[in-house]
Symmetry: D2
Subunit: 447 residues, 4 copies
């Protein structure tokens, strides 16, 4: 912890590897990498002398973020400072650096490179989360628990079924992020208003060379900048991911309630400064907390789309805040989710206890279906089931109440009722559903 930070992402939240991507040193290094690729392109296009790009490559790396920053204080423009600095150290070839380019050829292409790395980090962590969910899903596929809708006991599911749902939902995010990449991770090399004015048709040679050098496909057309819908899409898909992690965290938080207790975060820490007895689901709560911020980053990203004419600068300061914070935020959320899934414990005893809490009312849907199958109208069946559910006496179960009903007791005996009013019957399709889901998710991740 350096006490020089006001921003929690600089010490408390986010991984070192992600932070490094967004520090000045790496940003300037990436700018230089783009300038090197451009110089190579200029050489291929015959606009810089043969050999220049090789020659200049090493000297360019001697320029540091600090050098640029010192000059920026005078010039008030970061890329201009970088370019002057690079020229200074690169002798004869120096003047070809940045030739014909505009600042955002460098900045936008550098963003593409940095975000490619950042997305790689996020995707590895997301795969990790999903894999853990797959494991948990298989481990707990047979542990029947209460399914709840509206906070009310509804019908049985299994704990593994719950995890499989999350695996499926997150796999959708993985797919979404992967699809977004082709629109966001793009080379931008088209000069000050997008016309390649300084290069003429040789601009296409530069573009092709840089595509190869940097492993990025170029935008087909741009203004001074790449279209900002890319970052807006990124912010959206990451905010969706964040909200899904929020849902998983909320599940854990709710299942951890004192009255429910089906899961808990098994970590020994001081839970409260005033109440020594407490075991709070703090990791899950942090995930839910950060998700709110993630949602808040979407609107500014959308507002960055309508830039004026060939661009205005209002995206610049906004993205300087938006991009690092967004990625560090999601990074932290994914790390927290991994940790959460590793410390979360299932209390099967509590699950069983809760399952019996409604004394069979959670099977009422099955009874309803059976009555209709036996020839009753839905309406009649519906109100009859409600009646017997409401007539369950203390100490009884639904089956007892059914057997006390004259009409129903003439249709079923206890054995017949037990056969279909039980947790295993209610979840008899769960294994198939879970298995096909996990297969699908695994295939998607292996694509």
């Amino acid at each position: 912890m350096s006490f020089e930070h006001t921003c929690v992402f600089d010490w408390r939240y986010g991984s070192l590897e992600m932070r490094d991507l967004f520090k000045a040193e790496n940003i300037v290094k990436t700018y230089i990498r783009v300038e090197q690729a451009l110089l190579k392109g200029l050489e291929e296009a015959g606009l810089a002398p043969r050999g220049c790009s090789e020659l200049a490559s090493s000297c360019m790396n001697s320029v540091t973020a600090r050098d640029v920053y010192e000059m920026e204080k005078v010039l008030g423009h970061d890329i201009a400072s970088l370019v002057f600095k690079l020229e200074e150290v690169c002798g004869e070839c120096g003047r070809f650096i940045h030739l014909g380019a505009t600042s955002y050829d460098v900045v936008d292409t550098a963003w593409a490179l940095i975000l490619r790395d950042a997305l790689k980090i996020l995707k590895i962590k997301l795969r990790n989360v999903i894999s853990t969910l797959i494991d948990l899903s298989r481990r707990y596929v047979d542990v029947v628990v209460v399914g709840r809708t509206h906070g009310q006991h509804a019908a049985p599911v299994t704990m593994g079924f719950k995890f499989a749902n999350y695996a499926y939902e997150l796999a959708r995010s993985y797919e979404r992020i992967s699809e977004a990449e082709k629109r966001v991770l793009r080379l931008k090399i088209s000069g000050s208003v997008g016309t390649m004015a300084s290069w003429g048709d040789r601009g296409f040679v530069i573009e092709r060379t840089m595509e190869k050098e940097l492993g990025l496909q170029a935008h087909l057309i741009t203004t001074q900048v790449a279209p900002r819908d890319g970052f807006a899409e990124l912010a959206s898909v990451l905010a969706i991911l964040a909200s899904q992690l929020d849902r998983l965290a909320l599940e854990i938080r709710e299942l951890s309630r004192s009255e429910i207790g089906e899961v808990y975060e098994s970590m020994q820490r001081v839970g409260s400064s005033a109440m020594p007895h407490k075991r709070n689901p703090v990791i899950a709560e942090r995930i839910s907390g950060l998700a709110k911020i993630a949602r808040g980053f979407v609107t500014p990203a959308l507002e960055n789309i309508p830039l004026m004419h060939e661009r205005d600068l209002t995206n610049s300061s906004s993205e300087r805040v938006l991009l690092p914070h967004l990625f560090l935020l999601i990074d932290q959320m994914l790390m927290d989710t991994i940790k959460l899934l590793n410390v979360v414990k299932v209390d099967e005893e509590a699950a069983r206890r809760n399952l019996e809490l409604s004394r069979g009312a959670i099977y009422s849907e099955l009874l309803l279906t059976k009555l209709i199958e036996k020839g009753w109208s839905r309406r009649k069946a519906y109100f009859k089931v409600r009646e017997v559910v409401e007539s369950i006496k203390p100490g009884e179960t639904l089956i007892d109440s059914v057997l006390r009903d004259p009409e129903l007791s003439s249709m079923f005996n206890r054995e017949e009722l037990i056969e279909f009013l039980n947790p295993n019957y209610a979840t008899r399709s769960v294994r198939s559903i879970v298995e096909r889901t996990l297969r699908y998710v695994e295939e998607l991740l292996n694509r």
Copy 2:
């Protein structure tokens, strides 16, 4: 105009075809269509008698939105009311309707069907917008205009180049919407907590039958409801589209300024109640206005993702507001954009006048590049160009100022300067860039 509306989308904004999709009549009709497919599925699965689905199909269509609404007033539950009503009119087969299903099997599948139609409408209009942009791009590809960054004259582009940028950006949205469809337009048929509890393994037969009947692929797993990230993605991609249309509208609004006048909305209307002389870009302004609302719909859609356990109901009221308004909004924005592109006129005379306004300063980048090519350092060239630009005297152009500079006048004569400091030279790559872009866009739309 019915004076019974408080909502502008019910009379002022949005098309009739889109409105019809979201009216009670169509919603109930679509619910019935889902129930019919389900009945067919039950029949295939052996859970309803052979022939029932055919028999019931026609009688089901006799139930109207009003019937459902009248019963809902008593029961307080819309799908339960529908199902009771359907049972009433369908005789012996009636009781098999909805057997084993939960309300959101019907609601979520109906949303998928309605949104499929709604997206079809939006995509046709979006294709129309893009096609018009392609036409405009080809028509004006050679009309050189000032390119502006920071609101300042930067360097020449062409009017067709501008339109091609918008065509490209919107094509990205078209692609994005198309990719989202496979995640959003899905069958949901899995019962009250997603386990197919009432059907056992025969649930998969029902699912397959309904997939075929409705032309929708099923979710691999769900809770009581389909995962809400689908609608959040939809809201995001549509808000991105809205913000792109906003950018196009902003371009028109700014180019329509009294001082610029390169384009104008050519429609005869009363422009102002106080100032009869005004020609306001009101269509473009309406587009920008509605885009703000579209951006505002993303956060609620994101907030709908973290539902509790197997679902809570908080997505319901929220989506009832969100979905119709979002689609009608985008619908109106697309119609407005089509209208805008059809009434917008380019004033080539004004374009030419503005091009000369900077008296050649917009070619300064070309001069800079040339000086570097001639062996100058970037720094020296940069400050020299700035100097000659600032020395342009009233009545002069950049070329005059260059020729007054001792150092530069020894390097170039007037003819040489004219050769590369002119609009056509500055935009000599534009046709190639535009052409490859339009080809790309056309291919994407034909995919």
Copy 3:
């Protein structure tokens, strides 16, 4: 239910009285009222003949929304249509109507009048909510229930204490709305760019007359429109209110959980189409659902602030959507909250049962404090309390565990422990806190 609506606020949500305010008929009627006041002002200022305003007043009322709409179809401008129409019916005085004014003199002043009525409706309902909370607070001030933090049992509170917290929070909203009014509900009468150009210094007479006629204070300066921060503030304070109601609804939803059951919505309805046994907290869920939409309306309202120069039109379409929907939404939420508070029942038996669930652990803070008072260090006390809490055996309570501890049992006997480890001791300040809060709230409402 008219089946001509796509918008739920036109039939399902919102009160009739609120809807009427935002219908075309009332909007046009309010425009006319502003024009009448303006005519009176013109007369006072000597710009219209004496008697004209009285003469014209009655004829002006004959113009209907339909008349205006028919003409708008031709002219494409609503206020211009209205003014032409008014002139038509008002004979000699007709031409003085709207003299020197701009459309937004009428529109913005009309918004102020309509929103004054709308806020009146909301404030009455909010007072009603708060009063009910005060009643509930007094009724349940002594019913001890578990207080929960992180979803975990923390320490006892009372049900009345809970309600008092909500009363206090909502009173803060009441105060906030009242403070916002003076900035939002303002006359705007300054002509086409805010300079009163057509009236010269006589503009101030017109302004003063209209202030008196309409009971509104004028803005001190404007552009063509009143500053939009007013509506943004309104959207903010209403979204804050919505989020507070969301918090109350969430409390009810969580306390209604099957495992908790301390409260429930006591209404007989069909709870689920598949599960006849369910009692879902659907009113509370609807409140939480609509709150999400309310939060989404703040950003567009903020985006309306930065209008260009003396205004652009992008606020217009945006506000046409924003204002009616926002008010109808809050209106529905308040009605739902009133209904919720009227049907919610407290199950004191369940409350008692939950209170005992932790077997005394919820008093651990009191034990901690007592040990420190008795001379222990916090650290020693903290870990000792944790130890005895974790040592509570099945069937035991905290007191038993304390008495099994050698160190502690030498300090306390059972009677002494019972004295301060009990619900009434833990909540002994609650009545005073609640009473001072309710007094404060009542005074605030009576201000």
Copy 4:
């Protein structure tokens, strides 16, 4: 610049004084200050020995942020770590520190103290902005410029009139912030669930003592935490302020356009790495850029309101991000606005040129009014004015066109027309309006 930051607010944006407030050192120092006040309260209430608070005060200050952080790594809880640390260094009195309190008694009260300082900083800067606007308003009150609506020339205003509008709008924000303070800057001292359980009625003595010590009024009731609507209000009012500054910045950006040129940022910097001739309004653009982020912070702040029961922890991580960034953001925007207003220059020559651009059409409203005064119907006058405006020939003005019209030329001669179709006549009320506005603003600031 330390290269250890990923967050721009830690080096590029925000003032040192604001950053210091949000660094760990100051946060811990403020926590200690609250603990000291609490100890004093405990002493007054007879819960700690007389003299303890004085005795402990100095030793408490020896604990540093680093000490706390080292222990937090072990305990995983910041306030518990602080309290253990404080106890360690404070001898006999140590164990009374934090007695009966919960972490958020300290955290929320510390936020109130820190935000009081932060708001002081913002308000000083905001006053500075407003004062500068007042000066500019007075300086340029007579410089007539074109007023624009829809980007079109509408009617004359003066440059000072423009500035006065901004002064008025920002004064509304100043008032709004001041009103919010009483709800946000509050003492929170009520224990773990808000019941003062450890203190009984002596809690009120503690509360009163701390109110005096810290100069903060206490909340009347709370849960474990102060109600979160306070921070949501703060985020809202600051986002409103940000959007107003955005509007001012947008004005400057638009008036700086190459074609308009009425104002410009007069600073010598490198404007573009490719185009040496450019003078970009980069300060204004940065303001507009950051405003987008500010708007994005409102929704998370709203989402923090609905905490569960007596609180959940999801506000914590969210506020750790939200509060420092929000304040540093607004801090930077205000500093930028001050700088902007100091470097902005008005080009009166350009203003005059633009005023003549419409060749008198901007006086059409005055002609309209005059015709109505002379007895014409509005409709006749409206279309006649439009006709003469459209008939202005090259080289002519509106007056020439009027005099060519047979009907009109019989009503006016050139002298009469000149008398009311001129800039001074059009702005004859401006001085009065501006003066009353500035008086109002000055009074408001002096309140």
